[in-house]
């Protein structure tokens, strides 16, 4: 069954509207504010890049904010994530300090990775963000090991392992899902399906309609969800979390969405039309969530806009402050490679 993602103006409510009642209002506000922070952070990142203030490349998840926020909102504070190069969303949703994150993006010593990782490799280990991997699918086998340690330690924590649609064509995906399902490890595999592996649309690189059907190979539940509906993502991932936490093993959640921007900064969008991109902008997950919250009278328009404004202010302040931080020194760099 194909998931159809509606345009915001057609949206009546969320398919998971029960959550509007079940979840505390503060939780819903938290979700909207994080989504806005991700959007503003990435717009700011792009702006800084255009102004020549950023050394490296970046991979923006604008349009996909519901996936990272909806999934991480299900976690307990001590739970863990491991993710990928398009990882600003997961990092913010997991509770990153925006200034420290912006400092890393700008390559500063006070950044999360002291300027050694950059946009593609932000990790906040004490915060449970075990890092972003730049090699497509490369974080998935590592996720197996993290979850294995949780299982061997009889921990109640779980792990969310994120990767893109392209990663599901890697051998590491197969090896890892097979191993994790065989051992019933406490994690959830989440595919941030933005429909393109760089220039290649999913329909050109796989002979199936829904990535979630791959779960059948591993005897685990698989579900494709409307990845622009933050509550639908929440509902699907929460169910998978409970399964992982109770020792039944992993699930595969295919979070269908779309990236508005190019793959990275070199992308000239030769593989898709401006019309296609425009259509997806009419399916904006943030505008949609705002509409759902207002239509259901959970919040007023003024209240959602206040959250939006607070997010913008926080990102602006973070960038302003991070730009003043010092660059790292190349001195003694070799001494940091190995742990003593």
């Amino acid at each position: 069954m194909t998931v159809v993602i509606p345009e915001v103006d057609e949206v009546g409510t969320s398919s998971s509207e029960n959550l509007l009642v079940e979840l505390p209002r503060e939780k819903l506000a938290w979700m909207l504010q994080r989504m806005c922070e991700i959007r503003y952070f990435e717009e700011k990142a792009e702006d800084l890049y255009i102004r020549g203030l950023v050394h490296g490349t970046m991979h923006l998840s604008i349009g996909q904010e519901a996936g990272s926020v909806g999934s991480i909102a299900t976690l307990r504070p001590e739970d863990l994530i491991i993710h990928h190069h398009r990882g600003h969303g997961h990092t913010i949703a997991k509770g990153a300090n925006l200034t420290t994150m912006m400092a890393e993006f700008l390559g500063r010593e006070s950044g999360y990775c002291r300027g050694r990782g950059g946009s593609m490799h932000i990790a906040d280990i004490p915060g449970g963000n075990l890092g972003a991997t730049g090699v497509v699918g490369g974080g998935i086998p590592t996720a197996v090991g993290i979850a294995l340690a949780l299982q061997m330690h009889r921990s109640e924590q779980i792990l969310l392992s994120y990767f893109g649609d392209g990663a599901t064509n890697e051998g590491e995906f197969h090896e890892s899902l097979n191993m994790a399902s065989t051992w019933k490890l406490p994690l959830v595999f989440i595919c941030d399906n933005n429909q393109y592996g760089m220039s290649m649309h999913v329909s050109k690189v796989m002979n199936i309609e829904n990535i979630s059907t791959r779960a059948a190979s591993y005897g685990i539940p698989g579900k494709t969800v409307d990845g622009n509906d933050v509550l639908a993502v929440y509902e699907a991932v929460l169910e998978a979390d409970e399964r992982a936490r109770s020792g039944e093993g992993p699930s595969l959640i295919d979070c269908l969405s779309y990236r508005w921007r190019g793959h990275s900064k070199s992308d000239r969008n030769l593989y898709r039309t401006a019309q296609e991109i425009d259509e997806w902008k009419h399916k904006c997950p943030i505008r949609r969530f705002k509409k759902v919250l207002v239509d259901a009278a959970v919040m007023t328009t003024d209240e959602v806009e206040a959250l939006d404004q607070a997010a913008k202010t926080a990102v602006d302040r973070a960038a302003e402050e991070a730009l003043t931080f010092p660059e790292p020194s190349p001195e003694n760099m070799e001494d940091e490679v190995y742990a003593s």
Partner: protein
């Protein structure tokens, strides 16, 4: 260490003893790999360990070298001390993304805020008739990756002490076990002991010429030295034991003393670790003491062949070392 507790065991038994003692001492240590449990490992290294430690800590896996390496990397990131066994070093090609792009990089890439204490046990080398895809010595690849350490013991004593040190090290350590050395016997204390990774050892003292060799080439160099002793050529054999970090000092001191050096390894000569050793020596004070050019003896630039005669001819044998060392001892005289 008292002599009463030292007895002769094989290199394979020494590896097993190190694993068993570390697993008894630290519950975070576990073994993971293909057929390490019920089967006891492809070469029998982990025989009997399943019975003592159970399925969780002597963990049989699917045939999935990338996921095995990832499982070890992730568990290490969580503070465990996994020891992964790859059945043949050649299969590390399938694990390489996890080892090179994940395990080796994470500490530095994440600003020094994590460590990856894991060991990769890799049966290496030729001589078993296993041909091109089960006989390689890939140490030079990994030496060139910042973040990984590389160890290649040549005796049962070294195998035990270095493996214990590798397990206790807070970094990914590639531990090469030469398949032909598994049956080599030697004195090994029963007690647990560590050999620091950056410590070369002079395996035989001599005045005329230094041979720097590691892994299987150490016993071959020692045998060659005995033969040449009969001809009046007195050879010193130095075993770096760990290639990275490298104890340069012991090697340089030996070359300063003898003035001649032959570097021997099994891996193909071109791009092999011998080039690095030669450069280290040439750039040191030993350069002024050299009475002849630094010579290298390595494997031919061929995949390891199946046929016994061809296989022997592809990598340095005792007689090749004798010939090369004899020529070098005379060079420039």
């Amino acid at each position: 260490m008292t002599t009463q507790t030292t007895r002769e065991i094989t290199y394979l038994e020494a590896v097993r003893e190190a694993l068993v003692q570390e697993m008894r001492a630290d519950k975070e240590v576990f073994l993971i790999g293909e057929d390490v449990g019920t089967y006891g490992g492809a070469f029998g290294v982990s025989k009997g360990m399943l019975e003592e430690f159970g399925y969780e800590r002597v963990r049989d896996t699917p045939i999935s070298e990338a996921a095995i390496a990832g499982a070890a990397t992730g568990a290490a990131l969580m503070g465990m001390r996994p020891v992964m066994e790859v059945m043949f070093m050649d299969f590390l090609t399938i694990s390489t993304n996890q080892l090179v792009n994940q395990a080796a990089k994470m500490r530095f890439m994440f600003g020094g805020k994590c460590s990856i204490p894991m060991v990769i046990r890799a049966p290496s080398g030729s001589g078993t008739g296993a041909a091109a895809q089960h006989s390689q010595s890939l140490e030079a690849w990994f030496v060139n990756v910042p973040g990984i350490k590389v160890v290649a013991p040549s005796s049962p004593y070294d195998a035990k002490g270095l493996l214990i040190a590798a397990i206790r090290d807070n970094n990914p350590v590639l531990f090469m076990e030469h398949k032909l050395l598994y049956r080599l016997k030697g004195p090994v204390p029963e007690e647990s002991y560590c050999i620091p990774l950056q410590s070369a050892e002079v395996k035989r003292e001599g005045r005329d010429l230094t041979i720097v060799a590691y892994s299987i080439m150490v016993p071959r160099a020692l045998e060659a030295a005995e033969k040449l002793a009969a001809e009046g050529i007195d050879i010193e054999v130095v075993d770096p034991r760990s290639l990275k970090p490298l104890d340069e000092e012991t090697i340089i001191r030996s070359v300063c003393k003898t003035g001649r050096v032959l570097i021997v390894h099994e891996a193909p000569l071109t791009g092999g670790f011998g080039g690095e050793l030669a450069a280290v020596i040439a750039a040191s004070e030993a350069f002024d003491y050299l009475d002849a050019p630094i010579r290298r003896l390595g494997g031919l630039n061929v995949p390891i062949p199946y046929n016994r005669t061809l296989e022997r001819a592809a990598v340095p044998q005792v007689e090749d070392i004798v010939t090369a060392a004899r020529a070098l001892a005379q060079e420039g005289k």
